[in-house]
């Protein structure tokens, strides 16, 4: 169906090719997953399928790309519309019309189909993707998952034989992602579409895929069965890493397969016992000083209440993960804490510098805990693992008698209390070069600029030249740059809104390692359960703006399958969340015997 014959592609003004001698054959009805690190050319490959590369990107493509027997060098993307349906990374960016039904009808209109044919196709796709209830809704009012399904539907109405999806679930919460992927799976079964899909969150897709195409950093590619290709890959999903750690060959690819494998594994009993120990120790009060308190905070956005009556305490060095569906009020809460979004009711207090010092000296209880459990030490660098606290742990600290409300301060002073990295970090960057960005980190303060430089160096393994343009950086590098800028003000509390959006597995691991070692209090809004399990001390779950759960990671993530990591699903009900925990537990047990 899709055939790449020795395809190499170089973007204009670039020395090295993004794709190098790629040979690829995708058969009719096959579901092929494209895996690779950020910047390895996944998007380039996908866009070459219908000729958007090189027709829209410029650059030189060598070799030949044929889809359903037609070469993209001779047929324009528009004339391939009935053959290839392409859905880009941001579904909202591709919407032409205003309502769901019009958007679905757009492609058939362009193809010049007869009105009756058009009508039946639109109805058919509305049913197939479960969009019937939304047909008159304005596109902008839809949630992320709904928008993604509309975007897929809007190419399907042309009846393409190939569906190309570029990161369809990266911005979605777990439930919405399952919705979207479930819809695609149904298409593969019902209509027999060929699917080529790129996804960072491989764990969501891998059990659907027939084959995996690995794109290496040098632009070459290799294709094979999912288990064979993914084993040993830097971007491998947790389940494959777990399989490697437990020497399961070939690795199971779905949670179900892994559970069956574990049931037959002699180490099962050991793992179960560790989990039992873990649950026996309930949460203890967190003895670290409180850095920020939120008291019944409510926020309105337009006519709708975005956050209702949320109270929260964040302790020093504690990393709080803020979870919930798309549109549950996570971003609004972060902006309200930061102070830019006005609160309807409630107070936010953040300990300012002097306050922090005095708290630090007066709290004598903190590090004297002798009962850090044996496995807690094994979990590695996480600060005070196992001593994650309950909300009421610091009742002694009165609500409003200390600290400062960031909203009451002018912007330059507020950023010393609260540092925030918004969903699109690039909004903060506007200079021509990275050097200029760093120099203006503190508004001309040389100390801040120096801090920003050293922070950036500590965040990244490779140094970015000062002359490079911020737009040319990779997603991870840009995030690191913005983090460095924001942290140069040494804020007491750090707020991160969806920081893992554009990061691949190694990139997320870097960020997680850095978050843990930094020891700064942080609230991180994210959908990424694997990242949360790796980095957070506590999880707070919002639903329709209300706080519905607040507790230790293990407790909250273990309580619902929707918020579970793959390892937790496999090892349930032990409560182990990450591969590292499983390995550490096994290693420790073997050690003590």
């Amino acid at each position: 169906m899709i055939r790449f014959d020795r395809v190499s592609f170089t973007y204009p003004d670039q020395e090295s090719p993004s794709l190098r001698d790629v040979d690829l054959t995708v058969d009719e009805g096959e579901w092929c997953l494209v895996a690779g690190r950020t910047g390895s050319g996944k998007s380039t490959l996908l866009r070459a399928v219908n000729g958007l590369v090189p027709r829209f990107s410029g650059g030189v493509l060598r070799g030949s790309v044929t889809v359903a027997g037609r070469s993209t060098s001779e047929v324009k993307p528009r004339d391939l519309a009935e053959t290839v349906g392409f859905v880009g990374q941001d579904p909202a960016a591709g919407f032409v019309t205003e309502t769901v039904e019009e958007e679905l009808a757009y492609a058939p209109e362009q193809l010049g189909l007869a009105p009756t044919v058009m009508r039946t196709r639109v109805e058919e796709i509305l049913d197939l993707l479960g969009l019937d209830g939304l047909r008159d809704r304005p596109l902008r009012s839809l949630s992320g998952g709904q928008q993604q399904r509309v975007a897929i539907g809007s190419v399907l109405t042309a009846h393409p034989r190939v569906l190309v999806l570029d990161e369809p679930t990266s911005a979605l919460d777990p439930t919405a992602a399952e919705d979207v992927l479930g819809a695609v799976a149904r298409l593969v079964h019902d209509i027999g579409v060929t699917v080529l899909i790129a996804e960072h969150r491989i764990e969501r897709v891998v059990h659907f895929a027939d084959t995996v195409l690995e794109l290496r950093d040098d632009g070459t590619a290799g294709k094979g069965a999912p288990g064979d290709v993914l084993a040993g890959l830097a971007v491998a999903p947790p389940i494959v890493v777990l399989a490697e750690a437990l020497q399961w060959v070939p690795p199971p690819l779905s949670v179900r397969a892994a559970r069956r494998r574990l049931a037959a594994d002699p180490r099962r009993g050991v793992i179960d016992r560790v989990g039992g120990d873990d649950r026996a120790h309930a949460a203890e009060p967190d003895a670290r000083p409180v850095v920020a308190t939120l008291d019944s905070v409510s926020v309105r956005r337009g006519d709708v209440g975005a956050v209702h009556d949320v109270s929260l305490r964040v302790h020093r060095g504690e990393i709080v993960a803020l979870m919930g569906r798309n549109g549950s009020g996570k971003s609004s809460l972060l902006w309200a804490v930061q102070g830019s979004l006005p609160r309807v009711t409630g107070t936010v207090r953040v300990a300012d510098g002097t306050d922090r010092e005095s708290r630090a000296t007066t709290s004598t209880v903190s590090s004297a805990h002798g009962d850090v459990r044996w496995w807690g030490r094994l979990l590695g660098g996480r600060p005070a693992a196992g001593r994650v606290g309950s909300v009421e742990g610091q009742a002694g600290h009165g609500a409003c008698t200390w600290g400062v409300d960031p909203a009451a301060l002018p912007a330059p002073a507020a950023r010393h209390l609260v540092g925030m990295v918004p969903q699109t970090p690039s909004d903060l960057l506007y200079h021509e070069t990275v050097g200029e960005e760093l120099d203006t980190a503190g508004g001309g303060d040389a100390g801040a600029a120096a801090r920003a430089r050293s922070l950036l160096a500590s965040l990244l393994s490779v140094t970015i030249p000062d002359r490079s343009h911020p737009r040319d950086l990779s997603e991870g590098q840009r995030l690191a740059l913005v983090l460095a800028l924001q942290l140069s003000a040494e804020p007491a509390l750090l707020l991160l809104d969806e920081p893992t959006r554009g990061l691949d597995v190694p990139g997320k691991a870097d960020l997680a390692r850095w978050c843990r070692s930094e020891g700064r209090a942080a609230i991180i809004a994210t959908h990424d359960v694997e990242f949360v399990a790796d980095v957070a001390d506590r999880v707070v779950v919002l639903s329709h703006g209300e706080l519905i759960a607040d507790g230790p990671v293990r407790e909250v993530l273990g309580s619902t399958p929707m918020l579970s990591t793959q390892v937790a699903k496999v090892t349930a009900p032990t409560g182990l969340l990450t591969v590292r925990e499983v390995c550490d537990a096994l290693a420790a047990l073997i050690g003590t015997r």
């Binding site: 030189v60 493509l61 032409v96 492609a107 193809l111 190419v155 002073a413 690039s426 909004d427």
Partner: protein, 390 residues
């Protein structure tokens, strides 16, 4: 009640056109007030829940502003007539270099009434425009533009989509700027907001263009026997080069482009002709023959270009039907126009009351009832609504 969306948008525009023609015929404050009230009632009871439905408020403010400005100008530099003095302002005459101009002075009731009539007429015209906008929505009207203008319509739709996104992006970036502890002021501040917003906008347009192209936007058919020219088989008929660079066009589409260019030149020349003709007709008291000829040729040329030119292959999904309610709505608008034209013919003093002697605005009962007929739009639109629900 939302009966607006059921009716063809063109019918709403024709209704508004009829009412505004009626409005343009009179300066009688009673009639203007009646027509304005009628238009407002129709909008309030018929506008839909769509975003453009809320546009009417803006137009109402604009109308009020127009009346205010007209009155202010009258007070400042208006022509003084009549004997009912309201207030005597200090008067100032600039002198010989602006002979006849007088600032301030005696303000009379007659003068104010005249200014109110003229300002009110313009204001109600604006209300009619606002009514058409909020009842039909320019976006829905674009769906019914003829096929040859399809791509122009798409460009407008895209612009309408991107504008609110741009506003949102500016707000987002200003917030982000605060995060860096900077208050965006002055040129530097403007730059620091504009750079991310514009780069975002460029990226967004490129994404949109890709998405449209990948879904078949811009396919063309030639209105001739060579309409099979762009079929896939024909397009792949040439050699099979293995290297493509951006912008390489196959031979077949190049020929289509040439044909398109020819038609483009014809339509441009025709439009210039139309403009010249209109200029000639407007300039003189008797229309010169050349102007009529040039205008006629221009119009014919334009129509020819539209009919013969290459057009997109696009078809319309669920086009708005034009049936009895649409005809009835158009008739309601035309009725209003006819009534006022008749009033101007038969009772000119009522339609355009003279400045003096000063009188309360008055009108015979039949004319009042006639103005009230614009309200018939409400039941007519209700008919269309029932039709759609069926």
């Amino acid at each position: 009640m939302t009966c607006g969306p059921g009716i063809h948008p063109g019918a709403w525009w024709l209704w508004a056109l009829g009412v505004s023609y009626a409005v343009s015929q009179t300066t009688n404050l009673l009639l203007l007030g009646l027509l304005a009230a009628g238009v407002c009632t129709v909008v309030l009871s018929c506008r839909g829940a769509a975003p453009w439905g809320r546009a009417f408020g803006g137009f109402a403010w604009l109308a009020a502003f127009i009346v205010g400005v007209r009155l202010a100008f009258h007070v400042l530099v208006g022509v003084r007539t009549g004997s009912h003095v309201v207030v005597r302002l200090p008067e100032w005459t600039p002198g010989a270099w602006a002979a006849g101009l007088r600032v301030g002075g005696v303000i009379t009731l007659e003068g104010l009434a005249g200014a109110l009539g003229e300002g009110g007429r313009l204001a109600v015209l604006v209300l009619c425009l606002g009514a058409a906008n909020s009842l039909a929505g320019s976006r829905r009207l674009l769906k019914v533009v003829p096929g040859a203008l399809y791509e122009l319509g798409t460009a407008v739709v895209v612009a309408l989509t991107l504008a609110p996104q741009l506003v949102a992006a500016v707000q987002r970036v200003r917030l982000a700027r605060r995060l860096r502890g900077e208050a965006p002021h002055g040129f530097r501040g403007m730059r620091s907001v504009a750079v991310p917003v514009l780069t975002d906008a460029l990226d967004a347009s490129l994404h949109l263009a890709e998405s449209m192209d990948a879904r078949g936007y811009g396919r063309r058919v030639q209105r001739s026997t060579r309409s099979t020219l762009r079929s896939p088989r024909a397009a792949t008929r040439g050699g099979a080069p293995t290297t493509t660079t951006a912008g390489g066009a196959p031979e077949a589409s190049r020929r289509v482009h040439l044909a398109g260019n020819g038609v483009g030149i014809v339509s441009a020349v025709s439009l210039v002709g139309v403009a010249l003709g209109l200029y000639g007709m407007a300039g003189a008291s008797r229309t010169p023959t050349w102007a009529t000829l040039v205008l006629g040729a221009g119009v014919l040329g334009s129509i020819g270009a539209v009919v013969l030119g290459p057009r997109s292959a696009a078809t319309r999904y669920r086009p708005d039907p034009w049936r009895a309610p649409e005809w009835m709505l158009t008739t309601v608008g035309a009725l209003a126009a006819v009534g006022l034209v008749a009033a101007v013919r038969r009772i000119p003093d009522v339609a355009n009351p003279p400045a003096s002697p000063l009188r309360w605005p008055d009108a015979p009962l039949w004319l009042v009832a006639w103005c009230g007929s614009v309200l018939l739009a409400i039941p007519v639109a209700g008919l269309a609504d029932r039709r759609d629900r069926r």
